[in-house]
Subunit: 346 residues, 2 copies
């Protein structure tokens, strides 16, 4: 336990220059690896840097260069492993290209989200990455204006590049999977009230498949965030649904976390999955694949999504990529695991 010594002001380029008996510019040239510096001089500078423990001040550099190498990332909810995993991948790709990530988690409410975005902009992040975008009251768009490039990953909007799977098609595929298994009463379990575009696309995909099969659609949603995400006893309403006379034989959940909640309700209610109830999710979070869960779901190509999103954003920042907003639609895959099976015969 050493006491934190009184902090001394970090050394500046000027200190280095003085110690090395050179000018600031020469030191700057060495730091930036500019060509045409005498090797001897270079060494003198490096020695001085070493001696002073000098670290360049990125803040000053950013100010003079009028640009930062910081990417802002707006995350819906880090408590959802899908987003956490995506954030991790994105950080990796960004770091490999010399970019830092500044983040704000925005699950709380729209007001906080807007504050976070504004703060990111004031920090002059070079670009913005949305990992989830509610997009209801378009405050975000106004705040961002057209000052910086924006990429929506895994979500959707019409004012920036989009990198995502075709949520509608994926949801249709998931629903068709249930239909092909002979299910007739299939519920779509939506996210909470604040539904984003990507989520409503999933709902639309569900509706499309249901209508196509001539079945009756039924969309439900949690009143509050489900149990896994927050403690909540709205679980009782779930029981009513699972128990009713026209109870569903299959449920398609807007994401894996919801699917787990439903699975847990079913378990606790004594309903067998998949014998009595089939469940399919969306996202393929890591835990979904353990034997005990083995959740059927739609897998998104996370790594690819992250890589393309970062490349796209950095391309826009550098100006390598220009022109109108693009939409990268990546392939999803339907994972038929052990929470979906043929509909029970009454």
């Amino acid at each position: 336990m050493t006491p934190p010594r009184s902090r001394q002001k970090p050394a500046t380029i000027h200190d280095v220059a003085r110690l090395a008996e050179l000018s600031k510019s020469t030191v700057s040239n060495v730091i930036r690896g500019a060509p045409g510096v005498n090797p001897e001089t270079k060494e003198r500078v490096e020695k001085a840097i070493q001696a002073l423990g000098y670290r360049p001040n990125v803040v000053a550099r950013q100010l003079v260069q009028q640009r930062t190498t910081v990417l802002g990332i707006v995350i819906g909810d880090l408590g959802n492993p899908f987003y956490a995993e995506m954030a991790k991948l994105i950080e990796g790709f960004a770091a490999a290209r010399g970019f830092q990530l500044m983040f704000c988690n925005t699950q709380v409410d729209e007001h906080t989200e807007l504050k976070g975005i504004r703060s990111l902009i004031e920090h002059r992040v070079a670009g913005l990455l949305f990992l989830a975008y509610a997009g209801d009251a378009d405050g975000a768009r106004l705040a961002v204006g057209d000052q910086l490039p924006v990429v929506f990953v895994t979500c959707d909007a019409d004012w920036g590049d989009v990198v995502a799977v075709d949520d509608l098609a994926a949801a249709t595929a998931a629903t068709r999977h249930l239909i092909e298994l002979g299910h007739q009463r299939i519920i779509y379990f939506a996210d909470t009230v604040r539904e984003a575009r990507a989520e409503s696309a999933r709902r639309d995909g569900y509706l499309a498949a249901i209508n196509e099969a001539g079945l009756a659609p039924r969309v439900l949603r949690w009143h509050e965030r489900p149990r896994l995400v927050r403690n909540d006893d709205g679980i009782r309403s779930m029981e009513a649904i699972l128990a009713g006379p026209d109870r569903p034989t299959a449920i398609f959940a807007a994401n894996d976390l919801h699917a787990m909640d439903i699975l847990d309700c079913a378990d606790q209610y004594g309903l067998r999955v998949p014998e009595d109830l089939s469940i399919i999710g969306f996202d393929d979070i890591a835990i979904s694949r353990i034997a005990r869960i083995s959740l059927s779901t739609i897998a998104q190509p996370k790594e690819q999504l992250a890589r393309i999103a970062v490349e796209l954003l950095i391309g826009r920042i550098r100006g390598d990529i220009q022109g109108r907003a693009m939409r990268h639609s990546l392939d999803f895959s339907l994972l038929k695991r052990r929470t979906t099976a043929r509909a029970p015969h009454p």
Copy 2:
């Protein structure tokens, strides 16, 4: 799909001043809410700000003020829900106090970690938060020097404030729980080779309880990251362990994610949990509590840990808290759920 229009340089305080026909200083006074500004003047400034869509440049402010309101956070692995959850909580508390978070994920290797830390320092983050700290080759310490306050949350080191549970005591409690259930062959499953202090404290706690009971200790570790975290077929070695003649009847895993991996191996191998094998974890990640898993574990007070860590760090930054490094030891709790039971009678 509106094309991203050519980006115009954001308005500066100077632009605002010119439009409002005032000096930069007056505009600055309004922005900062300095006292003694004529209400009329204030309104003129605000109108100009509105008209130009002016947003203060935090980079410039930070340079002149010689301080930032950015906290650096070093995360071991965002793919582990425990860290993701902690990061989310920390972000929340920091944001509430006007601080942004810049993060680097450092699972990859030590080199990357060091690069990340250096980058954070060069960005002049006001303080550093370690959510995991390997602390082997003390490169991090050297890089940080004593330039800025450092808080270790959920991990341990002797060169900064620590906010954590007593890992040793917690591990002892977990192991005792197994001993009390009559288990004799209890394995401790450690993290990968790069074990941090907090993890070795857990191992020590295990050893203490085992020795106290006069049992034989046995410590194993994954060769690579386990399955949930990465694809890996080192699973076979796990099977050998679970199958051997002196196979363990109980396993204490260094964290919940490992516990899930072990649980999954047991499931796939046909071993019943907890009848044939008891498993206890550490962290109490959200998923652990669903009925299908119901993992016995040590719960850490995540919210409290996050809150205290942020308060402590900001206190240090502001200078409100001074003096030698402190150690906040919070209470853990032992959750006896359904993966631990009495030892099987042979």
